[in-house]
């Protein structure tokens, strides 16, 4: 077994194919571990990890915390809402103060794109990006690909369409990088206002007709409409968005094949997908969440193995 080519997980952009394979193979072992009666291994008992969340999160924060605890790491949590950041402390000061308490690894979510990269250049700890603005969310893309691999055997050659608010989505960008790296075909689909200009440069195709996109694909990854990141109106109304880009059971049943539905959560039920789709057998949304813990354990374990004693 080799080791990761990177010391931090800042984005999929910085990984190579072998890194992704190594993470998935390691995640396979951890998936077996978290299905044991005692779901814990002692590997990281001398590692301390700080979870710094400068932006709200439930799923990702809980998933990281669980992954860290199942590896026996010591964990401290920090959320910006209740901290000195409000008093005007800078990011580097905040993190260096935390690191002086002997912390080895930082898992950070931040509203500004590139916050993880910036931090990795200025502090002495291994950094895991848990989402930086509309830039990248690497662990989400890894767990999405891992879930596709689990369901379909491999990612290579599969057709994946990413539907919805691609413009504001870090999940979309990380997924595009990860899927392309593994040799999948990728299309994006959504209102033209929510598809970034020049996205074809990343090697993806744009499709504005949802039905055509679904007929083409093996997997549809449905993104949430991120109202909180929209300062202006990108489409006339939620109802109109749903009519054109929402997936419902009738639409799925009218396709001549059974496709897989994914969603990074949180779901706006009735907007991007209806409840009967979210709860159907075609949806692997909860598998994604379960795989998230195993994949994050793998990422943390592999990064920690590179931290010098």
């Amino acid at each position: 077994m080799s080791e990761l080519s990177v010391d931090h997980l800042l984005g999929i952009k910085y990984l190579n194919k072998e890194d992704i394979n190594l993470i998935f193979e390691t995640a396979d072992h951890f998936k077996e571990v978290i299905n044991r009666p005692i779901k814990k291994v002692p590997s990281l008992r001398d590692i301390t990890i700080a979870n710094l969340f400068f932006e709200n999160s439930t799923r990702t924060r809980l998933s990281f915390e669980l992954a860290e605890k199942r590896l026996s790491a010591d964990v401290i949590n920090f959320s910006a809402a209740s901290s000195s950041v409000k008093k005007g402390e800078t990011l580097i000061d905040t993190v260096n103060n935390i690191l002086s308490m002997k912390v080895d690894m930082v898992v950070m979510r931040h509203p500004n794109p590139g916050a993880g990269v910036f931090l990795s250049k200025h502090v002495n700890a291994s950094i895991v990006n848990a989402g930086d603005g509309a830039h990248e969310h690497p662990t989400q893309a890894l767990l999405d690909s891992y879930s596709i691999r689990e369901k379909l055997g491999e990612v290579k050659g599969k057709k994946v369409v990413i539907v919805g608010d691609v413009l504001h989505s870090r999940v979309a960008l990380s997924n595009i990088f990860a899927l392309k790296l593994q040799g999948a075909e990728v299309k994006v689909c959504g209102p033209k206002t929510l598809i970034p200009k020049y996205i074809e440069k990343l090697g993806v195709q744009v499709e504005t007709d949802l039905r055509k996109a679904l007929e083409w694909c093996d997997v549809a990854n449905m993104l949430r409409v991120q109202n909180e990141r929209m300062e202006i109106s990108y489409f006339p109304s939620t109802r109109e968005y749903t009519q054109q880009f929402g997936v419902n059971k009738k639409l799925l049943d009218s396709l001549d094949k059974e496709i897989i539905i994914m969603h990074p959560g949180p779901i706006n039920r009735g907007v991007e997908i209806t409840s009967d789709v979210a709860d159907s057998n075609q949806a692997i949304i909860l598998d994604q969440v379960q795989n998230g813990v195993a994949v994050r354990m793998a990422v943390i374990y592999l990064l920690a193995s590179k931290i010098k004693q």
């Binding site: 077994m1 080799s2 080791e3 193979e25 390691t26 072992h29 077996e32 571990v33 044991r36 009666p37 005692i38 779901k39 814990k40 291994v41 002692p42 590997s43 990281l44 001398d46 590896l71 374990y301 920690a304 193995s305 931290i307 010098k308 004693q309």
Partner: protein, 179 residues
């Protein structure tokens, strides 16, 4: 690098039969007994012991599992070598069972210490025994001894004992490899 043959295929075969008989002596019908091969190289020995028990001594059914100890080792981040994980496959309940750990070489005892910790994750067995083909005595770091041993070997720390299996290395043999 010098290499000395410690055990030939014939000698290994005789020893495996003796170890199988010693297991039968203590476990009779193997109803409550499970064999656990320690990954990676204990798995080959465990497979051999199981097939001898079934084919030569008509033991009806034996549970055999494989345990990977990578995540329980005490040298994570402490050595140059990168630890490589293997599959753990234990598809039966170990609660109240009599477990026999099977590994090819017992050296410092640290792997077995890790295996004992790992086993706790699966439940509370009634007892755990240890079977090894090669026992490198005088080199233990921990108070761990085998219940069933194939051959005792006195090797100095710089030397290596390598156990080869036909299914993996094209021959059955045990070599002492000098520095």
């Amino acid at each position: 690098m010098s290499q000395k043959l410690l055990l030939s295929a014939k000698e290994i075969d005789i020893i495996l039969h003796r170890l199988a008989c010693q297991l039968i002596e203590n476990h009779t019908h193997f109803k409550d007994t499970v064999l656990i091969g320690i990954q990676p190289r204990g798995a080959f020995l465990a497979n051999r012991i199981k097939s001898i028990l079934i084919e030569k001594y008509q033991v009806q059914e034996i549970n055999l599992g494989y345990l990977d100890i990578t995540f329980y080792r005490d040298d994570f981040r402490r050595g140059e070598k990168i630890l490589e994980a293997n599959k753990t496959h234990i598809d039966f309940v170990v609660e109240d069972k009599r477990i026999v750990f099977i590994d090819d070489v017992l050296y410092t005892g640290r792997s077995i210490r890790a295996a004992l910790t790992a086993m706790q994750s699966f439940g509370r067995p009634q007892e755990i025994e240890l079977l090894t083909l090669i026992d490198r005595r005088f080199s233990r770091h921990l108070p761990i001894q085998p219940n069933y041993r194939g051959r005792q070997v006195d090797a100095i720390n710089k030397e290596k004992v390598k156990v080869l299996w036909t299914e993996n290395d094209n021959e059955d043999a045990v070599y002492l490899i000098g520095s």
